[in-house]
């Protein structure tokens, strides 16, 4: 059975040792998601730890829901990028939509009002029979969610390559703004404090989505049906407003969204970070369906839900706010000093296990890897203009290539102007530029990666992606602040793929160090393979920069006849 849950024999034995007995079905489910690649970063952690993550501008680096940097005058910028690759391939519209929903929650969980969205997309060859359907579904899904919640989508990138035919990439990024002294973290505190559930009801959505995101695709995986959720951006919009309203009171001790592995990861992580125990009474969880089991409730990935630890006696204040926004609100448990996760339902105990070993002792692997062999030098024939071609011919060819073609068809489906704070959106500048609400100060946002460079040379490709992000921010006049990354790779159990990952991290780390451009958040998506064919190594870089006044930002349009054109750099 452990195998069906995706646990290896070693992992299962480890679980037996921690518990000192056979796990219950519910416990086994919980352990397996906690130790899945998606939640535990077991293949990647060793390398992620080599990235530079500190600097005077960093308020909070990796480890929380999103990264936080200082934007001066008591303002903080909170941002992160996250993938929703597998679900978007199976159901492009809902998969991409719920990806946007998830990344938004990561950001407003920390107390930020989301002010800009970006999206980095990779599709298969344009002529592949599935591509058209996937592109239109993904773009419509991102539009559906982002437009409805009222966060402007101000840029992104879109590439096409046959290596993504069976495995598209949908990476979404959200940037938010908060007061630096009003940031909310996820570590639980205060024995006896109430554990509160807010948002949508729990259904049987996406049970074991986190383990799916950690498994390789095969022909029959399109049959893995129930793992795709339907997003409800309207409820998310209400949840944003309600959470931000509650955050203005002083009722919250800790807060976290229920993302992958839902109630399991949120409760275990919150209690684990606080070094406490947690007891949940699942009868009180708002449910959409009848007859749900403790296992299903703990592993459901229903969207638009949050878990909050309140200060004692603040339940009424909080409930009034969620009532106003017509969202579910329920006290479902309390913090304890036992260090254990205890789950009760129908008067029975379904889970009683120590949290620290499960959350801290999740396996870490030092997977074997081999460096990527140096790519052959480009032949001279490629560097010299062929005799029978003019520069014009070449220009035409470049402009007709799908990667270079105008992406207007995509970005016009995104509301880039809502809030009235957008200075530059897609197509207008090298980075999107929005001002902070009610201020003249602005931020610039970009996403960058050139996967074919990373295939040829992961180290230089990783460094190049960081450098390009830095340049794009500088080009609009912003001071680059920090980076979020989304590491999309194939199966890490293959030394060649692991080598791409290690190389890209090394290149990124070098570039980030050289540029004082720390990584403050990120996401890893491995096993992006179909029938053994891996995607191109794609370390997508998202980055944010600061402008003292958004009006000083410069776009790409030439302004006046007669202006001088300068070329700088090598």
């Amino acid at each position: 059975m452990a195998r069906e849950f995706g646990l290896s024999e070693g992992e299962y034995n480890n679980a037996l040792e921690i518990l000192g007995r056979q796990p219950t079905y519910t416990e086994l489910g919980i352990i397996s998601v906690m130790w899945s690649e998606h939640c535990s970063y077991k293949s990647s952690k060793k390398w992620l730890m080599t990235l530079p993550t500190t600097g005077p501008q960093v308020i909070c680096g990796p480890g929380e829901n999103a990264g936080v940097v200082d934007a001066g005058d008591g303002d903080a910028i909170i941002f992160k990028m996250e993938s929703h690759n597998h679900p978007s391939y199976i159901e492009p519209f809902q998969g991409a939509a719920t990806g946007v929903g998830g990344i938004l929650r990561d950001v407003f969980t920390m107390g930020a009002r989301p002010i800009a969205n970006m999206n980095a997309l990779r599709f298969g060859a344009p002529e592949h029979p599935k591509t058209r359907h996937l592109v239109s579904g993904v773009v419509a899904g991102i539009a559906h969610y982002g437009n409805c919640v009222g966060v402007p989508t101000v840029g992104g990138e879109t590439n096409f390559h046959p290596a993504y035919n069976g495995n598209i990439l949908v990476n979404a990024m959200t940037v938010g703004v908060a007061k630096a002294d009003r940031i909310f973290y996820s570590a639980a505190a205060g024995v006896g404090n109430p554990v509160v559930y807010v948002g949508s009801k729990t259904g049987r959505d996406g049970i074991h989505g986190a383990t799916m995101a950690s498994a390789e695709f095969s022909e029959d995986s399109e049959e893995k049906r129930p793992t795709v959720q339907v997003g409800d951006p309207f409820t998310e919009k209400l949840l944003i407003e309600a959470c931000l309203e509650l955050m203005e009171t002083d009722a919250i001790v800790a807060i976290q969204d229920m993302g992958a592995a839902g109630l399991t990861s949120s409760s275990v992580e919150m209690a684990g970070k606080g070094g406490l125990g947690i007891e949940l009474v699942l009868d009180d969880v708002p449910m959409r369906e009848e007859g749900m089991t403790p296992y299903e409730i703990m592993l459901s990935e229903s969207q638009e839900r949050m878990l909050i630890i309140l200060k004692p006696g603040r339940e009424e204040v909080a409930k009034a706010i969620f009532d106003k926004w017509e969202l579910d609100f329920a006290v479902i448990g309390t913090l304890t000093d036992t260090g254990k996760l205890v789950i009760k339902m129908h008067g029975q105990t379904w889970c009683d296990m120590p949290i620290a070993p499960v959350s801290n002792a999740s396996p870490l692997y030092d997977r074997p890897w081999e460096p990527t062999p140096a790519a052959a030098e480009l032949e001279d024939a490629v560097r010299v203009l062929p005799a029978d071609k003019t520069l014009g011919d070449i220009l035409e060819k470049i402009m007709a290539c799908p990667d270079q073609a105008s992406k207007r068809w995509i970005w016009e489906q995104y509301d880039s102007l809502v809030n009235g704070d957008t200075r530059f959106m897609s197509g207008q500048a090298d980075a999107g530029v929005v001002r902070l609400p009610g201020q003249s100060k602005g931020i610039a946002v970009t996403t960058d990666c050139t996967p074919r460079y990373c295939l040829a040379d992961p180290v230089r490709g990783g460094a190049q992606a960081v450098a390009e992000a830095y340049r794009n921010l500088s080009a609009v006049g912003a001071l680059p602040l920090a980076v979020t990354d989304n590491m999309n790779f194939g199966n890490p159990e293959k030394p060649r793929i692991m080598g791409q990952f290690v190389g890209a991290i090394q290149g990124m780390a070098d570039a980030c160090r050289a540029l004082d451009f720390p990584v403050v958040s990120g996401n890893v998506s491995l096993y992006n393979e179909t029938n053994g064919e891996a995607i191109l190594p794609t370390p997508a870089i998202g980055a944010v920069g600061l402008l003292p006044d958004a009006m000083i930002a410069v776009g790409i349009a030439f302004k006046n006849e007669g202006d001088t054109i300068l070329l700088v750099g090598e």
Partner: protein, 80 residues
């Protein structure tokens, strides 16, 4: 011959539209409503006059385009 294809969300899949409609009906005072599900109907005018052939054709359209069977069920109704 005519075909009606009913496309509905699978049991257990969240139906935000249905939820919102139910909520609005309650606000309007229609308390007798217990649950609402929203779906689509696609009406096809077909050249075919043979029922069996028509059904087969529509079946193929459903699985290829009209429904996404990851989250949706469909039902076909033929009208002569």
């Amino acid at each position: 011959m005519k075909a009606k294809v009913h496309v509905t969300l699978k049991r257990g899949v969240l139906d935000p539209q249905g939820k919102a409609i139910a909520h609005a009906l309650h606000t309007l005072g229609f308390d007798g409503v217990e649950d609402v599900r929203a779906g689509k109907v696609i009406e096809l005018q077909l050249k075919s006059t043979d029922e069996a052939a028509a059904r087969k054709e529509v079946e193929a359209m459903c699985s290829k385009l009209l429904a996404n069977t990851v989250i949706e069920d469909y039902a076909i109704e033929l009208v002569a």
